[in-house]
Amino acid sequence: MAWLTKNSGTMQIERREEPYLDDALKAKLEAEVIIRYPDRRAAMLPTLHAVQHQVGWLPLQALAEIGAFLGVAPSEVMDTASFYEEYWLEPKGKYVIWLCQSITCELLNRESLMQKLQAKLSIKPGQTTEDGKFTLMNVECLGSCGTAPCALVNETLHEDLTAENLDQILDALE
């Protein structure tokens, strides 16, 4: 639910010396993204994507840096970033397992796969394993309904999942 937000008024920002949005990334964004739009704010989503790609997630300090870079208030960056489900405001695992929760997968028994994953990894959806290897997520339709149930592991799509091949897929990841 995009409209559910955490109270950010009392949040402490953990700061580090080195910026998340470094000069190289800034230059790249200026040349490849910002130049294509009539105002800097329009580059918000691509910038969030780029920083997340580099850092793995979006720490509060990074949001503040993005605000300064695009000329908008940090709170506005937070406002936009917290609306979209794909921005990580908390650290995520090396592999994110997005198990599709759409109606077709539901009809074809995705629930048992979810139970299995939760038992195998000892985490609930939205959580990350202690060793930081896996994060488990529910995701809306991945558009592979013809070969449901399906899951996206980082950027690789896996279809026709069963308890057995799901095991194999996860065990093959290092």
Binding site: R36, L45, F83, T104, E106, E140, G143, T156
Partner: protein, 548 residues
């Protein structure tokens, strides 16, 4: 490129192709690729190389061949002979397939019969190149007539003429609502502005829908050409493709297509040496279903929360950055090039009185042939489910078909003989939607289905307007109670009342249509709700007789 250059490139490519008597097409859409079709391609190539060049044979990556349930699919095309389609191919089958080509005898155990209704009953316009051409090759697209519509429009037609062809075609928006495309373009063209935008809405988020993904993965240039034609017809000069980040393969192919088209001068400044300039950018979504709504999509491109705005002003008057903006769905844009090439009257000859052309559907759920199909408007649901779809698996019987995703409804067997078009579906309590069709068998629980879609709407509500934010939450609570067997008649009455309130008072399409799955299941499967409430129900007509 000028039309002459296009013609030459296509001609040359066709001649080059004709030198190879055998073509092996391997499906490289996400469905087959997840089953290792890329490795099958490699082993096929290796097997061909090992056999030597006595009988030239070329392996080609193509997009979705449709029958996803039988993937990976491989098709062998030999000049002067019927094509042979192979299903459920594995890496180990490669050498046998290659051997069979020189033997001239197909591998019987893998053959997929294409003389069945699944293939025979389809009529392809949007998908005509899908599964035929290599999505990563511009020459391939040009060799099947690609970009000739753009060339023709720029050389021979005025923008008004392009618009009038589209208007004459009767094409209606394929995103779901069915707004006439010609009318939308006309509104956009009338608004004078130095900058105008065309947006391709590829934020396909309906549960059960994967048509746009397949088209983008299999024939990306068709969309670019459609966008360029739309831009020419409406006076736009910038285009955005707003695509879901969950479709990594489609994004990759589209990026490549834009790069190739720009390099060939088919996008960019002074296309074909004319005054027409048009560039396209890709924008990735970030996992918000509501961004498929056009005003929310605009907010998202502007870098804000994807929340809708009241209309008017319509985007055609004041859209992206306050400029006139035209937003069309992927499938709508895929129809434009054939309309320009063959004329609006040709397109209007297909389909029903008020719904012209064909429609792509994604068949999924409890059905034998899942996959992607394209059928003329006006086909019956029965033909789709039982002829093309091959009926219900495991000997079970058909219960309902869900169309239109979370904005649509569930139709029972008594509607199986209904002709599928925008108006019939709406009258029956569902909508066309973007084209997802989920089939349910007798074991499916309709209250659970309604609850599923309500949960979806609840979690995807953007929260801007109260009817949708609070209404979907409360409706979900009520459905939860009823599904768990703790509901009462009062709950059911309240649920129905809330449905009407949310439908009438929500700001955008998401809220306005969120009650549809509940309303349609209440209309056709009320007994299932009553069973769960636990009171003995009396069939409606008996009740009426008793009261008389």
């Amino acid at each position: 490129m000028t039309p002459e250059e296009l013609h030459d490139v296509g001609q040359k490519h066709r001649e080059q192709d004709a030198k190879t008597p055998h073509h092996v097409r391997v499906c490289m859409a996400a469905g087959c690729m997840s089953q290792k079709s890329d490795e099958i391609k490699k082993t096929l190539e290796k097997a061909i190389k090992e056999k030597g060049a006595s009988d030239p044979c070329k392996v080609k990556c193509v997009g979705c061949m449709g029958l996803c349930s039988a993937g990976p699919l491989v098709r062998v095309d030999t000049e002067g002979q019927d094509s042979v389609m192979y299903q459920n191919v594995t890496v180990d089958d490669s050498s046998e397939i290659v051997q069979s080509i020189s033997d001239g005898k197909p591998v019987e155990r893998l053959v997929c019969d294409t003389n069945v209704p699944f293939f025979a009953k389809q009529q392809k316009i949007v998908l005509e190149n899908v599964g035929e051409i290599d999505p990563d090759s511009l020459e391939d697209y040009i060799s099947v007539g690609g970009y000739s519509a753009l060339g023709k429009a720029l050389a021979e037609m005025s923008p008004a003429e392009v618009r009038s062809e589209v208007e004459a075609s009767g094409l209606r928006g394929r995103g779901g609502a069915g707004f006439p495309t010609g009318l939308k373009w006309g509104m956009m063209a009338r608004n004078e502005s130095e900058t105008k935008y065309i947006i391709c809405n590829a934020d396909e988020g309906d549960p059960g829908a994967f048509m746009d993904r397949a088209v983008l993965e299999s024939d990306p240039h068709r969309i670019l050409e459609g966008m360029a034609l739309a831009a020419y017809a409406t006076g736009a000069n910038h285009g955005y493709v707003y695509i879901r980040a969950e479709y990594p393969l489609a994004i990759k192919r589209l990026k490549n297509a834009i790069r190739l088209a720009a390099r060939a001068g088919l996008l960019g400044h002074h296309i074909s040496g004319t005054r027409f300039s048009f560039q396209i950018e890709i924008r990735l979504g970030a996992g918000a279903f509501v961004c498929g709504e056009e005003t929310a999509l605009i907010a998202s491109i502007e870098g804000k929360r994807g929340q809708p705005k009241p209309r008017p002003p319509f985007p055609a008057q004041s859209g992206l950055w306050g400029k006139p903006t035209c937003i069309n769905n992927v499938e709508t844009l895929a129809n434009i090039a054939p309309i320009v090439n063959k004329g609006g009257a040709w397109f209007a000859s297909i389909g029903t009185e008020k719904s012209k052309g064909t429609k792509v559907f994604a068949l999924a759920g409890k059905i034998n042939n899942t996959g992607l199909i394209e059928v003329p408007m006006g086909i019956t649901l029965r033909e789709i489910v039982f002829d093309i779809g091959g009926g219900i698996p495991d000997g079970l019987s058909f219960k309902a078909v869900q169309t239109g995703g979370p904005s649509g409804g569930c139709l029972p067997d008594r509607h199986l003989d209904m002709a599928v078009d925008y108006d019939n579906l709406r009258d029956a309590g569902s909508i066309m939607g973007s084209g997802g069709m989920i089939i349910m068998d007798e074991e499916s629980n309709m209250v659970d289905v309604a609850r599923f879609f309500m949960e979806f709407c609840m979690s995807e509500s953007c929260g801007k307007c109260i009817p949708c934010r609070v209404g979907t939450y409360q409706m979900h609570n009520l459905l939860d109670r009823i599904a768990e067997g703790q509901g009462t008649h009062e709950d059911l009455a309240l649920l129905e009342e809330l449905c009407i309130t949310v439908a009438c008072t929500s700001l955008c399409g998401l809220g306005q249509t969120a009650p549809n799955p509940v309303l349609s299941t209440l209309r056709y499967f009320r007994n299932e709700y009553l069973d769960l409430i636990g009171e003995q129900h009396i069939p409606a007509f008996v009740g009426q007789e008793a009261s008389q």
